[in-house]
């Protein structure tokens, strides 16, 4: 019966975990991180913030509801996923459901992984692995498949790679309702601005979305509020564009590798147009405001992170996926924490004391995870 090949996860400290392969069979390396969410593997796998990481799911039964169709809306956004492809380097689980059952499923998780050349291992004591990562902090690791030439995998140090550059868009993409248009980054500002106003015959508010690896549901959430979204590459200087508000997206890796973005945001801070950020966006906004960022021991990756709005009795359950955090102590005099994590007291968002600038470390767009903080988009839209 058992025909799956043996696959082994080898952590940087030499610990090995033996399981079986159920995805694409190739050796792979990356930062090993754990996620405690109990649903949402298609969304997580396609979340660009997982670029460069081997994703461990602590919930043991995975694959149950298969994988939804990989279709796209007319505007190019994925119908059910968070981007065009799987960004995680591999997925590590305990019990794999080869058979699946859901009305909206098109194939099994294993088949999808194979198609996108992503390894998957099951049969791992993911709880023991998680405890290891919790005690030691996140570690680099590699997966080797038995009976294959696993070669000498070159492992870049996760923190030194600019993953944002790898996952950000290369062109300027303009979304409005069901439509989308693409412009080259070297399109002159004037041409671009006039094109935008031609496209915007409905006179929607224009939001520049700085794409550091944006999840499609952030774009959907903005479009749902009847906004025009101008998605630009992470290092694009958007300050010459006509826009009503700036949105800073999530993204993978170390925010310190994104200095170009920080410089551009800092310019925007001189003005008064509303700015909102999510996750990496929170960190970039904080950096632009003068704060510093540090790496958490093992990050927050789950659907159950409690945050409290500072100075209030309002608490929210949030979806999170980050390995770095803003050091609240280093916030400039004009800034203050907006949310804090109720478990470990880390920063979960900041705001400017006088200007309409605010951001969250968590993911109000959810997908996957709880939808309690969807109001962040409403607040942003209302400010425009």
């Amino acid at each position: 019966m058992q025909t799956d090949r043996i696959a082994t996860l080898i952590l940087d400290d030499g610990t090995t975990f033996r399981g079986y392969s159920f995805g694409y069979e190739k050796p792979v390396a990356g930062e090993v991180v754990f996620n405690t969410a109990m649903t949402g593997y298609p969304e997580s796998l396609t979340d660009p913030s997982y670029a460069g990481q081997l994703m461990v799911l602590t919930y043991p039964l995975i694959g149950n509801y298969g994988v939804p169709p990989r279709t796209f809306q007319p505007n190019g956004l994925s119908t059910f996923m968070e981007s065009e492809k799987i960004h995680a380097e591999a997925i590590i689980i305990s019990d794999y459901s080869r058979e699946y059952s859901h009305w909206n499923a098109q194939c099994s998780l294993g088949d999808w992984l194979k198609e996108e050349h992503i390894p998957g291992i099951y049969g791992i004591d993911t709880r023991a692995l998680t405890k290891k990562l919790r005690e030691h902090g996140v570690m680099m690791g590699r997966i080797e498949i038995e009976g294959m030439d696993n070669g000498e995998l070159t492992m870049d140090n996760y923190g030194e790679v600019n993953y944002v550059d790898k996952v950000s868009c290369k062109d300027i993409l303009v979304y409005s309702g069901e439509e989308s248009h693409s412009f080259g980054i070297d399109t002159p500002a004037e041409t671009l601005n006039s094109q935008l106003s031609i496209l915007n015959c409905q006179l929607k508010k224009k939001v520049v979305l700085l794409d550091c690896g944006v999840k499609h549901n952030i774009i959907r959430s903005l479009l749902k509020r009847n906004l025009m979204v101008v998605r630009v590459p992470w290092n694009y200087d958007f300050n010459h564009l006509d826009y009503d508000g700036l949105f800073l997206s999530n993204g993978p890796g170390d925010p310190d590798t994104c200095d170009a973005a920080v410089q551009n945001i800092r310019k925007a801070l001189a003005g008064d147009r509303p700015i909102c950020g999510i996750c990496m966006g929170n960190q970039l906004l904080a950096k632009a405001g003068g704060a510093s960022i540090y790496k958490l021991k093992y990050g927050h990756r789950s659907h159950n992170q409690p945050v409290r709005m500072v100075g209030s009795e309002h608490c929210f359950i949030t979806s999170q996926n980050h390995g770095y955090a803003v050091d609240s102590e280093t916030l400039g005099a004009d800034w203050e924490p907006l949310f804090i994590n109720m478990n470990d007291g880390t920063n979960e968002g900041i705001r400017h004391k006088t200007k309409p600038f605010f951001s969250s470390q968590f993911h109000p767009e959810a997908c996957s995870g709880p939808t309690d903080t969807d109001f962040m988009f409403d607040r942003f839209a209302k400010l425009l």
């Binding site: 509801y65 998680t130 405890k131 919790r134 996957s368």
Partner: protein
């Protein structure tokens, strides 16, 4: 707010009944703990004396009184509490609270309802209000029409289109509800539903949709969390209490999960819950369409399950929120450092399986539907679905070993059995797979989601691979490990390889065990920590799994722990009383400086609350699993005598493995359990017993009966159908019973015992130390022998025994204790006729009545017994039962109203689902309190009497006269009418159902609600199913009219309410009986 509250009243749920069981002992106990630690005084009303919440040190003041508006008002008037909690005592407490609110009592005494406001409760309870409320926020409900008569019900059903579901408003967990495919069925069901409620709901049925529940918490600052979601294995159409339930949901995608979560939060906010509630959904398996089925604005069975499934103490938190705290004020009680405002992340799956006892009832309908029939449940934890469900199927304790490798079921029509689910549905699926049915075929017939069936099919595949081997050595390491990961027990593996050739199952299983241990295939221990290991947690809440390579806990090996084996699923005959015993044992162990360890798997219990002990293994009580744990834990010893029969049965096998069993030795336990050995011992020490013989042919049986005479008690060793035991009064009954119920043969002998009529039954509950009795309690049944001791009404101290009888009972008990060298708890049951004493049974463990006698006497028998088992010195308490100036009555709660078609008659097999215990200044007062506590009402005017045989008619004569003198109108059937006439008692003749055309008809009078109480004594003890008597009894149950079927109990109750009024009943707390 909490600063203004000095005293809080909390309402319990009363006796355990189908639909309202031990879960409310758990939630009430948690609430009491949460409130007491604030320094607030607590007053508890709950007549259920066997609960942990009514034990010393849990509430400040306890009233063993009925949870009804009448009594609660009196307690309020006396105690003057500042606040009241309504959400912790099930539907009973909720209904009572709403009534007190509506009648203005709460306002009159200025009692504040803590937590969810009463208006919000009413918005969820009244169907029309509920639908309106949810319409306001565009949330879809199952549209139903509330009707107040049958004609309107018919019209509504025709408009909605069949199939429809009928529900009685304001009813306990689906009471008086059901599906109707046509008008004929509707007529029957609607009438029944109207007997429970003036309002009946007719709605469209969504059979086949998924059923999903969310447990939601909200604080007064509007912060909300969903602690857990759960998915039913069985689709909509089967009551959630009857369904296998999985947590978290397995077949919902992220979109599905969060759509329903978002709705749940929107609902709880709009309704305005403060505390906890659950939201039940029907969810379309083919789209994202949904309907809200209902919202329970209180702690529930599901919330208890969710607490155990996640480690999140819902009741504790809900009580704190009721006092005005915000969720952000509270800590996660598992990690102790992170916030209580969070949603647990599970890294395992749990599976709840209901436990039914339908075999105990004559004529009961076995089909599962929208009304609950199960009497208990188990929760199994695993890291694969296969592991969890196979564990669970062993835990329900009905002789099954898992999903496969069971005794072959005889299913004549598999299609029908799949389509029309009964309590054996899951095993029918197993059988269907073996018969070649595909997943799709089974899905079509059952509508169970394919995912569950796929997982079950994995088990079948593995079984097939195992069965292809004929020696252990042929099983590959990979297969062996996979089988264990999928939850196969050593027994199942042994059965798969040896098949019918397996003679010594215990030895074969042990061989498998040794072999796999040699291969290094052993389970690991994992913690339930609420956060999937994200934060360190020092939790002691544990389970075992084969999906893992590393233990979460370290073992000290210092032999300073004591393992207490729990009592497993609640069932008829073993319920909350053994949970009380287990908890007392744990408390004593801790108090004496040892580490306490509990093994149990019942989510409705307090013993499985992880802060009751130093380590909780939420796992199986099989020999295999207990040994796994003992090998890791290396305890000083194991206590098997406080958890009822399940641990008791393990004693011998554990002893063979050199486990240190504390207290009475396994050999002595065996000597008492083994009928032959015990009987020989009684003969040896000159103690009398009813004559009995194990017989294997009709001739031998006849010969024995000739010697001892009728009636006889017959106990088959293999039961074909119906109850396991029966009393036969004549040759015809004997032959019919043996022919229908038992298959007498060499392989399946029957035990026939002499049955002594009109004999008193006496119980001796005691604790001994090295053969010497340290403490005892003698109690007396009100009913004569023939009613199972678990169904009987028990008075303690005994009120009407001869001094000589008591002396003899004490002497015999001393002899037995000495002979078996008992150290620990034990119970002996006696027959007493005149001064003749016979022993009927002896159990070297705590019995059902231990909490009752302990609380009436105010001496904790289990604490004493545990101290003895720990080898500590004990002194004989100075107090004894003869010093008491009051009397306790333990009365039984029956749930016949849930068990359609079952004959509500008492016999030698137990049928009650719960009990109460009330204390009074005399027997009548205690009887009245206890009978009102189990749901009887003092009749207003009209009483229907059919008083059985001549002897029973005589026994009832005084009571009948009392009724007549008191001005009651008596209605009597033929024989009873004549007898009353002869004795000068006026009565109106009414006719049996068989006397067609004659008026007035007894049944018609019942249906017209002209009768307030029915006393119907069956003529003999082997009740035929379609007799006149059955029809009357069943009608009384279905129409919710108080029914008594025993002459002595009826007499006692009648005497009580004829000599005392409701206002004569003393409102005295437990403390006030000194």
């Amino acid at each position: 707010m909490k600063d203004e509250i000095k005293k809080v009243l909390i309402l319990g749920s009363g006796a355990l009944k189908i639909g309202e069981a031990g879960e409310f002992d758990y939630s009430g106990s948690q609430a009491l703990k949460a409130i007491r630690e604030e320094g607030i005084q607590t007053v508890l009303i709950n007549p259920n004396i066997a609960t942990v919440q009514t034990s010393e040190g849990v509430a400040d003041t306890v009233y063993f009184l009925p949870v009804t508006p009448f009594f609660v008002e009196k307690v309020i008037a006396k105690e003057r509490p500042d606040g009241i909690l309504l959400a912790f005592g099930g539907q009973t407490a909720l209904n009572c609270g709403v009534a007190l609110y509506q009648s203005g009592v709460l306002e009159k005494y200025n009692v504040r309802v803590l937590g969810t406001p009463v208006q919000a409760i009413m918005d969820t309870e009244d169907r029309e209000l509920f639908v309106k409320k949810l319409d306001e926020i565009q949330v879809k409900t199952i549209k139903s029409e509330a009707v107040e008569n049958i004609a309107d019900a018919r019209r509504a059903a025709a408009e909605l289109g069949y199939p429809v579901i009928i529900r009685a408003a304001y009813a306990l967990g689906g009471l008086g509800s059901g599906f109707c495919d046509n008008e004929e069925e509707l007529n029957v069901l609607a009438e029944k539903a109207f007997s429970f409620s003036p309002q009946v709901l007719v709605e469209k049925s969504l059979k086949g949709w998924k059923e999903v529940e969310y447990e939601v918490v909200r604080d007064r600052f509007d912060n909300c969390i969903t602690v857990c979601n759960m998915e039913n294995f069985d689709p909509l159409g089967i009551h959630t209490g009857e369904s296998i339930v999985i947590a978290p949901s397995q077949t919902l995608s992220n979109t599905d999960y969060h759509k329903l979560r978002e709705l749940a939060i929107r609902i709880i906010r709009h309704i305005g819950i403060v505390g906890e509630c659950n939201v039940q959904y029907a969810y379309d398996p083919e789209s994202e369409d949904y309907r809200v089925i209902e919202v329970n604005a209180r702690l529930s069975r599901s919330s208890a399950l969710a607490s155990k499934a996640t480690g999140y103490p819902l009741a504790f938190v809900a009580a704190k929120l009721g006092l005005g705290y915000g969720l952000f004020d509270l800590k996660n009680s598992v990690t102790k450092t992170t916030s209580a405002f969070f949603e647990p992340a599970l890294d395992y799956v749990v599976c709840k399986i209901p436990r039914w006892d339908l075999g105990k009832f004559h004529g009961v309908d076995r089909e599962l539907g929208s009304s609950m029939k199960s009497v208990g449940e188990v929760m199994a934890i695993g890291r694969t679905f296969e592991e969890a469900i196979q564990k669970g199927l062993r835990m329900i304790g009905q002789g099954m070993h898992g999903f496969v490798e069971n005794k072959e079921l005889v299913i004549p029509d598999i299609d029908k059995a799949l389509r029309e689910p009964t309590d054996r549905r899951i095993f029918v699926i197993s059988k269907a797979f073996r018969a070649g049915y595909t997943i799709d075929q089974i899905h079509e017939l059952t509508k169970i989601d394919r995912w569950f069936l796929q997982k079950l099919y994995n088990i079948i595949n593995t079984a097939n691979e195992l069965e292809a081997c004929s020696k252990i050595q042929e099983i590959s390491d990979e297969l062996m490990r996979r089988a264990k990961v999928q939850g196969f027990s050593d027994f199942q593996i042994a059965r798969a390889i040896y098949k019918e050739k397996m003679e010594d199952a215990e030895r074969a299983s042990l061989q498998v065990r040794q072999d796999r241990k040699y291969r290094g295939i052993t389970p690991v221990v994992k913690q339930i920590d609420t956060l999937a290991a994200e934060y360190p947690a020092q939790t002691n809440y544990l389970y075992l799994t084969y999906s893992g390579t590393e233990n979460d806990v370290t073992y000290l090996g210092d032999h300073r722990s004591i393992v207490v084996l729990g009592s497993g699923a609640y069932r008829i005959g073993s319920s909350v009383e053994f949970d009380w015993c287990g908890v007392q044992a744990l408390n004593t162990i801790r108090k004496e400086g040892w580490r306490s360890v509990m093994i149990n798997y019942n989510p409705e219990t307090v013993s499985t609350d992880y802060d009751m002990c130093d380590r909780l293994y939420f796992d199986e009580l099989t020999f295999e699993r207990v040994m796994d744990i003992l090998e890791l834990e290396n305890p000083h010893g194991v206590i098997v005598s406080t958890g009822g029969q399940i641990p008791n049965n393990l004693a011998m096998r554990l002893d063979e493995q050199h486990v240190n069993i504390l207290g009475t030795t396994a050999k002595s336990i065996d000597n008492a359990e083994d009928r032959e050995k015990f009987s020989a011992m009684l003969d040896r020490i000159g103690v009398d017993q009813p004559r009995w013989k194990e017989l294997s042919s009709m001739e031998d049986i006849n010969e024995f009966v000739q010697e001892v005479g009728f009636p006889v008690l017959v106990r088959p060793s293999y039961v074909l159908s119906g109850a396991a035991m029966n009393v036969c009064s004549n040759q015809e009954e004997l032959e019919r019973f043996l022919r229908l119920a038992a298959n007498v043969s060499k392989k399946h002998p029957v035990v026939v015992s002499q049955f002594i009529e009109h004999s008193k039954e006496v119980e001796m509950d005691a604790v001994a130390d090295k053969g010497e009795i340290i403490m005892y309690a003698i109690s007396e049944h009100i009913e004569f022998a023939g009613v199972h001791s678990g169904d009987a009404t028990i008075q303690f101290p005994a009120q009407k025994l001869y001094v000589e009888t008591v002396r003899r009972i004490k002497r015999i008990s001393r002899q037995i204790a000495k002979e078996l060298n008992i150290s620990g708890p034990f119970n002996i049951q006696y027959l007493a006729k005149g001064n003749e004493i016979k022993v009927i049974e002896c159990n070297l463990r705590a019995s059902r009545s231990f909490p009752f006698v302990s609380k009436v006497l105010k001496i904790n028998f289990i604490e004493l017994a545990t101290r003895i088992m720990l080898g500590l010195p004990v002194e004989k308490p100075h107090k004894n039962e003869f010093d008491l100036d009051y009397v306790g009555i333990k009365a039984s709660q029956f749930s016949f109203n849930r068990l359609q078609k079952a004959d509500p008659v008492l016999g030698v097999d137990m049928t009650s689902t719960g009990e109460v215990g009330c204390i009074g200044d005399d027997v009548s007062e205690a009887i009245l309190k206890s009978m009102l506590s189990v749901g009887l009402r003092i009749p207003e005017k009209n009483i229907l009497l059919s008083t059985g045989s001549a002897k029973q008619k005589v026994a009832m004569l005084d009571a009948a006269r009392l009724l007549a003198d008191k001005g009651y109108n008596l209605y009597a059937t033929g024989g009873t009418h004549r007898f009353l006439q002869e004795n000068g008692i006026p009565s109106t003749l009414v006719y049996w159902p068989s006397e067609e055309g004659m008026e007035p008809q007894a049944l018609k009078m019942l249906h017209e609600r002209k009768i307030d109480m029915v006393v119907n004594i069956p003529r003999d003890l082997s009740a035929g199913e379609l007799t006149n008597g059955y029809k009357i009894r069943r009608a009384a149950i279905d129409l919710n009219i108080p029914l008594i079927t025993n002459a002595r109990l009826a007499s006692a109750f009648i005497k009580a309410f004829c000599t005392l009024t409701m206002d004569d009943i003393q409102i005295k707390s437990w403390n006030e009986y000194k």
